[in-house]
């Protein structure tokens, strides 16, 4: 184990791509976590905004109020730097939560399918097949539609994030499940499982303890790649109007708002959120790629 670790660390140190992208991801995650302390303003507090600050270019004083903003302001006079930090928070939260949900579902269903076999296995894996054919945006529209019907209008604003997490999480569990199922099938045949059964231990509990370490690596890789997918999916859904509300914008919502100002010369409203999203998704993707190449023994 320690050799694996040191090899891993060594490989990491030797790859500039891995170092830089991990650095960027860390930086962005920290920025998101500490947004309330870093951001000059709370962009979610609409009452604190001065509409007259709207459309202030980066580092130039506003024509009416004379205030200056690092990255300028958007159409509502919201400081873009703060909005991006908070948006990053929303996007990352949605991303991590969706991945966690997908991972939990996938690992659970994968274990169940692999361990129980028979019709349970067939049912779960068939579900996975069907699931894979339906892209996340359609799933999201479905869930959004159902939620629209079931949830009282007053609570919808708060639940938009929940819907995002649920829809992305529900559409990405398959890969986790397949990986875990495969490992479970292999482990099930091993002697220790039989031994555990003979000794009267719960074989499933024993297996979980053995299987989880075995699947850490692939699950980590899948999780990283899914995180990037989730962040992009969130942005796309925001474009379709199923995303975070404009009063508490995610990066995707900021981009949707910003693209309205692409032709009118207020480039910063689109550019900075888009760059942040690109930086985030790209770094996570690069990291995922590198992880897959490095941790996959077959690719070594």
């Amino acid at each position: 184990m320690s050799r694996w670790d040191s090899d891993f660390v060594y490989a990491f140190k030797r790859s500039p791509v891995a170092c830089v992208s991990a650095g960027v991801v860390c930086l962005l995650v920290l920025a998101a976590v500490f947004a309330p302390w870093i951001a000059p303003l709370n962009p979610f507090d609409m009452a604190a905004l001065n509409l007259m600050n709207g459309f202030t270019p980066p580092l130039a004083p506003n024509a009416f109020t004379g205030e200056t903003f690092l990255l300028g302001t958007d159409d509502q006079g919201r400081d873009l730097f703060s909005a991006i930090l908070y948006g990053l928070r929303v996007s990352l939260f949605v991303g991590f939560a969706a991945v966690a949900l997908a991972m939990f579902l996938g690992v659970f269903l994968g274990l169940l399918a692999g361990y129980r076999g028979g019709w349970v296995d067939t049912l779960i894996m068939r579900m996975a097949d069907v699931q894979v054919t339906f892209p996340s945006i359609l799933i999201a529209m479905l869930i959004y539609g159902v939620a629209q019907g079931l949830i009282a209008p007053d609570n919808r604003g708060d639940l938009a994030i929940g819907i995002l997490i649920l829809s992305i999480g529900l559409s990405e569990w398959v890969q986790f499940a397949r990986t875990v199922r495969g490992t479970t099938l292999v482990e099930k045949e091993k002697e220790y499982v039989q031994a555990a059964r003979l000794m009267g231990l719960n074989p499933l509990a024993v297996m979980v303890r053995h299987i989880l370490p075995n699947v850490t690596t692939p699950v980590l890789v899948i999780a990283t790649i899914t995180l990037a997918l989730a962040i992009i999916a969130e942005a796309t859904l925001s474009f379709l109007g199923v995303g975070a509300p404009p009063t508490e914008p995610s990066l995707g919502t900021l981009i949707r708002i910003g693209q309205d100002f692409l032709f009118s010369g207020e480039w910063w409203i689109l550019l900075f959120p888009a760059l942040t999203l690109l930086l985030l998704a790209l770094s996570v993707n690069l990291l995922g790629d590198w992880l897959r190449d490095t941790l996959n023994p077959r690719l070594k």
């Binding site: 529209m141 990037a228 992009i232 796309t236 693209q259 692409l262 690109l278 998704a281 690069l286 690719l299």
Partner: protein, 327 residues
Amino acid sequence: MIYTLFQRVIQACFVLLLVALVAFSMFRFVGDPVQGMLGQEATSADREALRERLGLTDPIVLQYARFVLNAVQGEFGVSYRTGESVADMISQRLPATLELALISGTFALLLGIGLGVFTAIRREGFVAQSIMATSLVGVSLPTFLIGVLLIWVFAVELSWLPSFGRSGVVDLGGWSTSLLTVDGWRSLILPAITLGLYQMTLIMRLVRAEMLEVLRQDYIKFARARGISTRRIHFKHALKNTLIPVITVAGLQIGSIIAFSIITETVFQWPGVGLMFINAVYFVDIPVMSAYLLLVGVVFVSINLAVDLLYLVIDPRLKANASEGHS
């Protein structure tokens, strides 16, 4: 093999029934179509009368049964928004979406396989590494933004390509095609790239990974030991083995392409079923939305079936297994 096929068809029907249930029940709850259809002068009595006429007051189960029965007969009712028959609307708009999907799918497949092979055999090369890195940019930006940026650069700033719509359409007896005119192709370029970019990246990366995997196989080493040229090994032996897993993913991507055409068609005002769907969502046009979902379900399920069959044809190992009856 017949048994397998039969099993698959039964499963497909079950899936479709499920999709129909979802399609019906979810859209039954979104918004209220009646409001959208009546003008601002309508009274509540008008609205109730209309609700009655549309059958929206019947029990849900009855509405679902009626829905499935009608759907089987290709009868999806009429659009609340345009008053056209939904079946007509779909058949009128489907060619646009299918052609767009076909072109962007072909683009994604050809370029994806080509670049995938290239980056696999030139694994350490600078060009290959750069392609791998830039390809990630393509999947790290949302589709709609890529579309808008393409319009900005190629339509507004450079004026090279049209920014919207489907031009140069020729009617071939019920199938309208834009593939027969220069204008038609020009209007296809930007939407097709926007739609295909993500899939292209995905296929490219998959091909690369699979190819690297295949190149490590013993039979490739043995082929080299037999003195077969590198070129022949790459393109004859490795590529074919690489493409087998790619088929599944590519097949599934067709589903994605059709779903993602919702976004592309909105950005480029492409008159296909995706645009129809998003309009239906905004207008709470239940019949259109349900029909679209069912359509997508049918497309996906048939693609899955087709991929399964294709597998049997291409991979001799599966053919043997299937004929022995245990797959």
